[in-house]
């Protein structure tokens, strides 16, 4: 290790840069031919934050006679920072291109040191990859990617199911603690928002229905309208959309943050299967709470419908109750119940998958959360359409 007794020497350099304030003014330079040499005079304060910085033109050394050195005069140089170095670097590159001999040693030592750190060759911007519009390739790639994705999600679902069976026989890798915390986040914590939204949806249905039904003096059928709409469609879909935004987004953000912190890697190294340790409790929590939230949503929605009917229409509470029971065969509930179970599993699996697939930066966490919500909502509505077709075919 070389001895480092250069405090004094270094102090002198610094004073030169920071304390010298005898010359002030804008940064300037000029080229001055002299006998046997060319002098570059630097003057003024070269401070980047003060704004204007001079450039060194590419043709700057055109008039320098061949073989004569270029020297620097820094007597009038005031304070300077890296903006001067930037100028000198440019000048050095130009000198190199024009084969001009530069006497760097006539510069202040601190500037020379910095200049020496810089690479000789100017940076060449990397060429952008050519971008061509290829519709067939794009569509093909999209299809392949989508199929691949469907395969991955199914595979993950299968792995989670295997983990579930293993858990049932008592050899699973899922911790009850995780399942409980996921259950409480997806269940009780969501009651309020699910309740509010379904109450309002029920109320809105009653409003909309009452306008038409009142014309036919069929006010009482508002009850069946609200009941059937809530139980068949609205409660399941609204609850699923809320859970996709609320819990699905949270799962994706959590798992992608774990990905960014190499926590997933650590799990894998220990041989803890991600599918049953992380994904299974999340999916189970959603698949378990979603049907319950659906039933709760139905009830609250009908309450909202009753609230509006009672205030606006000539309907007795008992009549409303009776009509609701009349309109609702039990299999309607079964249908909605199965739907919400599927929605819950779907949201859980896709959002976990999106989180696992995310990149490793802060921006990627945001992208993953957004994507989980979008895919969750669109997927729920698409699945609902599929269910509608199936229901039509089998005649429920």
């Amino acid at each position: 290790m070389p001895p480092r007794n250069r405090v004094g020497e270094v102090a002198a350099l610094r004073l030169e840069r920071l304390v010298k304030t005898s010359v002030n003014g804008a940064p300037q330079w000029h080229l001055q031919p002299e006998a046997n040499r060319t002098l570059v005079t630097l003057s003024g304060d070269w401070i980047a934050q003060q704004g204007h910085l001079p450039d060194f033109p590419e043709s700057g050394f055109r008039d320098v006679p061949h073989g004569e050195p270029v020297e620097f005069s820094t007597d009038q140089l005031g304070k300077w920072d890296t903006s001067l170095i930037s100028f000198l670097w440019e000048l050095k590159r130009t000198a190199r291109e024009d084969n001009v001999q530069l006497r760097i040693d006539t510069l202040p030592e601190s500037a020379r040191k910095l200049l020496d750190l810089l690479p000789e060759i100017p940076p060449t911007p990397a060429p952008l990859p050519p971008h061509k519009f290829q519709p067939v390739t794009a569509v093909g790639q999209l299809t392949l990617d989508t199929l691949d994705e469907v395969g991955c999600v199914s595979e993950m679902g299968a792995a989670a199911a295997r983990g579930g069976f293993a858990a049932v026989v008592g050899r699973g890798m899922m911790r009850t603690v995780d399942l409980m915390s996921d259950l409480s986040a997806a269940g009780p914590a969501a009651l309020l928002i699910v309740g509010v939204v379904n109450f309002l949806v029920g109320a809105i249905l009653a409003f909309v229905g009452s306008v038409e039904l009142h014309k036919f003096a069929a006010d009482i059928y508002v009850a069946s309208l609200v009941a059937i709409a809530m139980v068949r469609e609205m409660s399941a879909v609204m609850t699923a959309i809320i859970m996709a935004g609320r819990t699905g987004g949270a799962y994706a953000a959590r798992i992608s943050t774990m990905q960014a912190n190499e926590e997933i890697d650590a799990l894998q190294v220990f041989g803890i299967p991600v599918s049953s340790y992380l994904i299974l409790p999340s999916v189970l929590a959603l698949a378990f709470t979603m049907p319950l939230l659906y039933l709760y949503g139905c009830l609250i929605g009908m309450l909202g419908g009753f609230f509006v009917s009672y205030i606006m229409l000539d309907v007795s509470p008992l009549g409303y109750f009776h009509e609701t029971l009349q309109a609702l065969p039990l299999d309607q509930f079964t249908f909605g119940f199965i739907k919400s179970l599927v929605f819950g599993t779907f949201i859980g699996l896709t959002s976990c998958r999106i989180g696992l697939k995310a990149g490793r930066s802060a921006a990627d966490v945001g992208i993953a959360a957004t994507k989980a919500v979008v895919v969750g909502i669109v997927g729920v509505i698409a699945l609902d359409a599929v269910f509608a077709v199936i229901a039509n075919v089998i005649g429920i």
């Binding site: 934050q49 030592e109 750190l117």
Partner: protein, 267 residues
């Protein structure tokens, strides 16, 4: 007890920390820490893991308010002023975080450019030029259009250094600059720090426990102790190694096991 390096340094004082106490709620991390950093020196904050080195650094860069004491940056009392004055003083700071802390959604070039875009009125091509210069100084010009996630640890550190220098600060703070780097990369970073100090005339404060690197670059320093929760020795790492008689400091500097019976009670 010999734990104070005799000072012959007559350079002007850049930073003066006086009786600073740092605490999280009722838990005191360090108390009554005092030291001065002179302009152009490379000042090492040393100490074992968990002694509060990084906490001290946090309070010096404005992330944690000390519960007691004054922190002067030249003539400005940093914590006494309002937010605006802290921002104004903070504009003189450049900080290299432990893992680089590069903004992951931006390329390396954009990371270095952002402070300039926010705080100066420079034209885009001038900013580009200065960004190239700063990345050139740390040898990272080739990575200007890469994202932080594509870089290795050492490259992130160097890119972080370029970003710290973005606004030409005259005080640079480095948190564990050589942690996690191989010896060659670490030595190269040390050399770079020395060159930048000489070239830019900056004052540098380093939090580290990498002995070889500290002996090489630091010319002054302070040793914080986790048990006594205060500074137990002042001086350059080499001086502390060769002359300090405090058992904790001696053990630290010589990579020895501390005999627990002698470590307490005589700081």
């Amino acid at each position: 007890m010999n734990n104070q390096m005799p000072s012959t340094d007559d350079r002007p004082v850049m930073i003066d920390v006086n009786d600073v106490t740092l605490a999280f709620g009722p838990r005191v991390i360090q108390h009554d820490v005092s030291f001065q950093v002179r302009r152009g020196s490379i000042f090492a904050v040393m100490g074992g893991s968990g002694c509060g080195k990084s906490t001290l650094l946090k309070s010096m860069i404005g992330l944690l308010r000390p519960t007691h004491g004054t922190y002067m940056v030249q003539k400005d009392n940093y914590w006494a002023g309002d937010d605006d004055s802290r921002v104004r003083i903070g504009r003189r700071f450049g900080v290299l975080f432990q893992s680089g802390a590069l903004w992951s959604s931006m390329t390396v070039g954009e990371n270095v450019a952002l402070p300039m875009q926010m705080f100066t009125k420079l034209e885009p091509h001038v900013i580009r030029q200065l960004v190239e210069l700063k990345l050139g100084l740390v040898g990272m010009l080739h990575a200007i259009d890469q994202y932080p996630s594509e870089l290795s640890g050492g490259m992130r550190k160097r890119a972080g250094l370029a970003r710290a220098m973005s606004l030409d600060p005259d005080i640079l703070f480095f948190d564990e600059p050589s942690a996690g780097l191989d010896p060659i990369t670490s030595a190269r970073l040390d050399e770079l720090i020395l060159n930048l100090r000489d070239g830019l005339g900056a004052t540098i404060i380093i939090v580290s426990h990498e002995l070889s690197s500290l002996f090489h670059i630091a010319d002054d320093g302070i040793f914080l102790d986790a048990d006594q929760k205060t500074a137990i020795a002042h001086g350059s790492p080499t001086w502390l190694r060769d002359h300090c008689t405090d058992p904790t400091v001696h053990a630290f500097m010589h990579r020895e096991q501390l005999d627990s019976s002698s470590s307490h009670g005589n700081g």
